[in-house]
């Protein structure tokens, strides 16, 4: 059984009965290797379709999860269960519960970084005060707005109005959490929350893959929320200096907010400033100052002062990227898309109304970005297989479009792999309108391929 990956969360979905006699059959050696190779922040086992499980059955999965957590320092746990199953799991593991429990996938996703900048308001309650606080801090650090009920009575009252909340968090447990630095997105800014003592451990807790992904998909401003930092040592200093150097290659900016130098040597600040890192007292000094934000690259329109040009290596692989796109559309719709024209140019969209767009970056032996712009109706048609039922809900359609572009990225990766080119793909980004896409892509030169599908036109754009 292979895990399904959504964003940076991978989930196994066993069905039926899960016991000591059959559980190991769900995970072949190939499955384990494939799971170990995933670039994720969280690995879960869904119990949604499991009618019976026992500890022997769960232990087989938990053993794999713990082994991967030890290698990659990701969060692991179980999800998709009801209150009865939650009690059963707690009874099985008692005080030895060293993995997380999320009542739903939706709750689990709140505790991982994403490319989205939408802050969710959630209702939170847990009998255990330390769990309640840990969850609230994590949720806040991931950019959400937890409404914390202080008592069961208050929780039950608030629960009567579920429409006020994105989700209600109960029957949830955070086990060995906080292994990675929490990340949130605000507009076009990535914010990392760091705390306590910053030392050599930061190389393990900082999610460098996510950071590189973000650079590759066009984020240019990275802020370290350092209000809770007590001090840093020379290892952390070296880490941040190197991070600043690599960001400079992308013309990106790194800032620290709220960092005090009472217990950190003042000379460290000078070294960090020399590396190009900026310091601010308050988050709002940046986020509320539009001009500064633009200057720092937090408004993507100005991020491309130094555009990276197309190179021969990328253009040579163009047919494979187009193949990946056309074959994915054929796979998802059983209809054929055909190429109409192809030019090297900046992105040009004649009709900017009623369009969705999505992008995915890749890096490794070749690097660049695929952008696809669809008329809304065609996007819906292309994602019908993923969506299932007719819907006009924009979030659902954009989520499916991200999954769709992820498949294109996966196919392109496989096709490049056949040519012995090793690449990794980033998280996909989606755009509900073309304006926000153009802010990011307007100065970029690339190959624009106009394609036709069922009488409508859509655009494939390959750039760096």
């Amino acid at each position: 059984m292979r895990a399904t990956v959504k964003g940076r969360v991978a989930i196994f979905y066993p069905q039926g009965f899960l016991d000591g006699n059959n559980a190991s059959s769900f995970l072949s050696i190939d499955d384990i290797r494939a799971t170990e190779a995933l670039n994720i922040d969280m690995l879960l086992v869904s119990l949604k379709k499991v009618i019976f499980f026992n500890k022997n059955g769960l232990d087989v999965f938990i053993k794999l999860l713990i082994s991967i957590r030890n290698q990659k320092r990701i969060s692991i746990g179980l999800c998709d269960y009801d209150s009865l199953k939650f009690k059963t799991i707690n009874a099985f593991y008692g005080n030895n519960l060293n993995f997380s429990l999320f009542r739903t996938e939706k709750i689990a996703e709140l505790f991982t970084p994403s490319n989205k900048s939408d802050s969710k308001t959630v209702l939170l309650y847990n009998d255990d005060l330390s769990q309640r606080s840990a969850m609230a801090i994590e949720l806040f650090d991931y950019g959400h707005n937890p409404v914390i009920a202080q008592s069961k009575k208050e929780f039950d009252e608030k629960k009567q109005h579920p429409d006020l909340y994105y989700t209600i968090i109960e029957d949830t447990y955070l086990g060995l959490f906080g292994q990675k630095i929490a990340t949130r997105v605000t507009g076009n800014v990535i914010i990392y929350t760091v705390a306590n003592f910053l030392d050599a451990e930061i190389t393990n807790t900082f999610n460098i893959a996510y950071h590189n992904n973000s650079l590759n998909v066009g984020f240019r401003l990275f802020i370290f929320d350092a209000y809770k930092v007590i001090s840093m040592n020379v290892h952390a200093l070296n880490f941040f200096t190197k991070l600043a150097s690599s960001a400079a290659e992308y013309n990106a900016t790194i800032c620290f907010v709220g960092l005090t130098f009472e217990k950190t040597p003042q000379i460290f600040k000078n070294d960090l400033e020399d590396a190009g890192i900026l310091f601010f007292d308050n988050m709002d000094d940046i986020l509320k100052n539009k001009e500064l934000l633009q200057e720092l690259g937090g408004s993507v329109a100005t991020a491309s002062k130094q555009t990276r040009t197309l190179n021969k290596a990328l253009v040579n692989e163009l047919p494979r990227f187009i193949d990946a796109t056309i074959s994915t559309i054929a796979m998802m719709t059983n209809a054929k898309a055909s190429k109409e024209s192809m030019n090297i140019q900046t992105l040009e969209i004649t009709d900017t109304t009623n369009q969705y767009a999505s992008s995915i970056g890749f890096y490794g032996d070749v690097d660049g970005m695929i952008i696809i712009i669809f008329p809304k109706a065609i996007a819906k048609k292309a994602c019908e297989l993923l969506i299932g039922e007719a819907t006009d809900d924009e979030e659902t359609i954009l989520d499916s479009l991200a999954e769709f572009v992820n498949i294109i990225g996966g196919r392109a990766k496989a096709l490049l792999g056949e040519q012995k080119h090793r690449v990794d793909i980033t998280l996909p980004r989606t755009y509900g309108d073309v304006v926000s896409l153009m802010e990011m892509a307007q100065n970029k030169k690339g190959v624009q391929v106009n394609l036709s599908f069922e009488g409508s036109h859509f655009i494939f754009f390959l750039t760096r």
Binding site: M1, R2, T4, V5, K6, I11, Y13, P14, Q15, G16, F17, L18, D19, G20, N21, N22, S24, S25, F26, S28, K48, K49, V50, I51, F52, N54, N56, G57, A330, M331, M332, N334, E384, L385, L386, G388, E403, N406, I407, G410, R411
Partner: protein
């Protein structure tokens, strides 16, 4: 991916049930096992299948059984009818499985185990009619169809499933408007299998509405039985655990009775 043309071609390529099998089934349905055995004796492939099947460990006979009339005598009307439908299924089964990691012996074991456990369920429910007993034999048709249709699209399905946990039945329904169970019903019709049988099997997808109370109960038990079997290590390894979507809410109210009937010892596993 799978197109409506491919589906139509596949259904069209399935030949009608051989005359000897149809006649044998008819004799069994009429309760004439002697004539049925005589008829079955004329088909060497059927004879070999009956001998091989009946002498497999799941039937638990101490001595090898050779004679067809002896086989039918041992099996009785209901089981003989089931075994003949099983044989029809094997005619549909591929020589080499492409999607699932199955061989024909493992598939026969699945058929036999489904039948045996279905018998226990019907005994528990007090259902005695032969057609209902035979309904279980059509259930694996959906596995065969799935392998036939998706076998050449394995890598595409893997890519799709890497981003979304979709089962084969859902993928097929969304692509073509037809489910694996719709196609099973079409094959049943082609083979002149009574519609009472195909209705129960169709409902075993757990997705049908407008069922009679009796059909609903049988569909619940059949759906849970299917996942009971597909949770066994051998079938999990074969990839069968993921082939349709388990409708856990559909069966939750019969779970306790089910584990008792199956003698599934929760604490000893």
């Amino acid at each position: 991916m799978v197109t409506n043309e491919e589906i139509a071609h596949y259904i069209h390529s399935i030949p009608p049930a051989p005359t000897i099998i149809q006649e044998t089934i008819q004799f069994v349905r009429n309760g004439d096992l002697v004539k049925a055995a005589k008829c079955a004796d004329e088909d060497p492939a059927l004879k070999l299948y009956l001998r091989t099947l009946v002498n497999r460990a799941v039937y638990g006979f101490r001595n090898e059984v050779h004679d067809v009339s002896q086989i039918f005598g041992i099996l009785g009307i209901s089981t003989a009818q089931q075994v003949l439908y099983h044989y029809l299924m094997t005619l549909l089964a591929p020589k080499k499985w492409k999607l699932f990691h199955l061989d024909n012996h493992t598939f026969y074991d699945l058929q036999a185990s489904l039948s045996r456990n279905w018998g226990k369920i019907l005994h528990h429910l007090g259902v005695l009619d032969h057609d209902t007993a035979s309904a279980i034999t059509l259930l694996p048709a959906s596995i065969i169809i799935c392998d036939a249709l998706f076998g050449s699209h394995k890598s595409e399905v893997e890519q799709l499933r890497s981003v979304k946990a979709l089962d084969y039945n859902t993928i097929l329904s969304r692509l073509s408007g037809q489910s694996l169970f719709d196609l099973s019903s079409q094959i049943a019709e082609k083979w002149e299998i009574p519609s009472t049988i195909s209705r129960i099997v169709h409902a075993a997808s757990g997705l049908d509405r407008d069922l009679s109370e009796n059909e609903h109960v049988l569909a619940q038990w059949m759906h849970l039985l299917l996942f009971f079997e597909l949770s066994k290590g051998l079938y999990v390894q074969a990839g069968l655990n993921e082939f349709i979507d388990f409708q856990i809410d559909f069966v939750s109210d019969i779970y306790e009775s089910f584990v008792q009937v199956m003698e599934y010892n929760e604490s000893n596993r």
